[in-house]
Amino acid sequence: MSNASSGDFLTAVRTRLDAAPESALLLPTLFLLLLMILIFSFTADQFLSLSVLRNVLTQTSIYIILGVGLTIVLTSGEIDISIGSIIGLGAMILGISVVNLGFPIGIGLLATLLVGVLCGLMNGFLTAVVRVPSIIVTLGALTFFRGLAYLLGGGTVMIGFPPFLVWIGSGTFIGVPVPVWLALIAVIFGQLFLKSTRTGQHIIAVGGNAEAARLAGINIRFSKILAFVIMGALAAVASIIMVARLDAAQSVMGAGIELQVLAAVVLGGTSLFGGRGVILGSVLGALILSILQTGLLLSGVVQFWQLVAVGALLIAVVALRISYEPSEVQS
């Protein structure tokens, strides 16, 4: 290849990347993911097996579902760190309604979803209408919802769910685990909603420049509340999958998961300052974190080093991105 044509090629690639700013964020993340798979396929011999792959995917589906929700909330310029506690509360609602009270599973699932929506509604209302910063609202909600979960369930483990729920957790549909299907649906929904609907565009606008959005007649309150409600509903779905996977419900479920999800979303290129949400990036981010952990585990690295590796990777990726795109740090 001559010099000129390689230059042309590079310009063409650049133009392409500029035309679709999102792919500029996605490609490096995808590259990182593939690199990691390559490395672990050498260091851990069972790594590239179908069972490990399926396991990783199933395990990651919860993070992907939560990641979609958190991406939307971050895009609107807010944050939600209460999602782990919504999961705990949802698990209690599911356990009490189905196991303790003997309601049909359909009712239990609906009740769990409803509680997730109500949690989101509360977070959204306090943030958008009462105007308490969302980091504080959801910090309070983090202990508030967890407290409610303990009040409802104490320290007991609820078991004895009907077969349908067990199928949600461990069953397959056309050979693919059900949680993976649910994650796929969440991703398609999130991508279509954020990028292709008016409401999604309004959420981006509100997160990008709230005053400009307001002057353009966009309802800021509605946009933000909706983002939190979607997050709450998706946290309820995650809660259902978690209970289904363990075939048991406990009030501590989901504790600490918000940091993992936040790490995955930020890794994927979503801005912490609002206005830019990369749903597919969050999927890649979640996969990277899972594969890193599974890969290190299978390579015989002790757990403590896994924690160090995850933290270091997160900081390194964001630092790299900022050095290439200074606008990341502004307002």
Binding site: D18, A19, A20, P21, L192, S196, T197, R198, T199, Q201, H202, I204, A205, G208, N209, E211, A212, A213, R214, L215, A216, G217, I218, G275, R276, S327
Partner: protein, 269 residues
């Protein structure tokens, strides 16, 4: 150019005393807490007229148009459109009533591209039932419209998919003014549209204003610190000082010295 100015002056004389005003603000007051930003401000805008608003920094020009267009809630006062009393609760209502506004700064979402900004809050949806029901936007159509508009307005934007923060200040301002022209309001309000942009682009924006006025019969309110722009373009000028109106003069009957005197408070009316 001089002959053009002549006919312009002739037209001005007729426009300045045309029938019912398209827009009238009566006794507008606006307080921010204890601060009186507007005190008993009244003005009217005739059909096809360009009304200039001038005044020092902090005189209350932006506050006045934000109050009139529903971006701020007024403390008291009335807005009349075509002789009818209207309530402008918010900016959406103002747009529905045919008032398009380019606010000073912060009109665009910098992280979004030009088409998204042009259609901000009024995105085009797909025409099939699913598009309507779920509000699926029609990106292709918005992009085509944007290309046409930018071509018509002689605005060069190389990469339409890039966030507008990658555009120059002048290009951003052109997109903001272009948005007001695109939506064809009966009234277009421009808050310092020629600020922060180069001389060529200033001229382009101001020519655009005249062209839209002449072809579409739109009435304009033009806020500016630039006396050249006001005296070349406006039919009438409203002078503000410390939240009050201190002058309402026909350009044909006044001079720069008089207007500047009113702005600074050197002239007593």
């Amino acid at each position: 150019m001089p002959s053009g100015m002549q006919t312009g002056a002739d037209r001005r004389a007729t426009r300045a005393d045309a029938g019912t005003p398209v827009l009238e603000a009566r006794n507008i007051h606006k307080n921010f807490g204890g601060v009186r930003a507007l005190e008993d401000v009244s003005f009217h805008l005739n059909k096809g007229e360009i009304l200039g608003i001038v005044g020092d920094n902090g005189a209350g020009k932006s506050t006045l148009i934000k109050t009139v267009t529903g971006a701020y809630r007024k403390t008291s006062g009335e807005i009349w459109l075509d002789g009818k009393h209207v309530e402008v609760e918010n900016t959406r209502k103002a747009r529905e009533l045919g008032i398009e506004t380019v606010y000073q700064a912060s009109g665009l979402v910098e992280v979004m591209d030009a088409p998204s900004n042009l259609f901000l809050g009024r995105e085009m949806t797909r025409s099939n039932w699913l598009g309507n029901a779920l509000g699926f936007i029609n990106r292709r159509k918005m992009r085509v419209e944007t290309v046409e508009l930018l071509k018509m307005l002689n605005i060069e934007v190389r990469n339409l998919a890039a966030p507008v923060r990658n555009l120059s200040g002048g290009q951003q301002q052109s997109v903001a003014v272009g948005r007001a022209a695109y939506w064809q309001g009966k009234i277009i309000i421009l808050d310092e549209p020629a600020n922060n942009i180069g001389v060529d682009q200033q001229r382009a924006v101001l020519e655009l204003v005249e062209r839209v006025r002449d072809t579409q019969g739109v009435s304009f309110i033009l806020i500016s610190h630039n006396m050249d722009h006001i005296f070349n373009l406006a039919d009438r000028v409203l002078v503000m000082r410390n939240g009050r109106t201190v002058g309402n003069l026909r350009i044909a009957d006044t001079s720069r010295a008089e207007v500047v005197g009113l702005i600074t408070g050197a002239t007593i009316t």
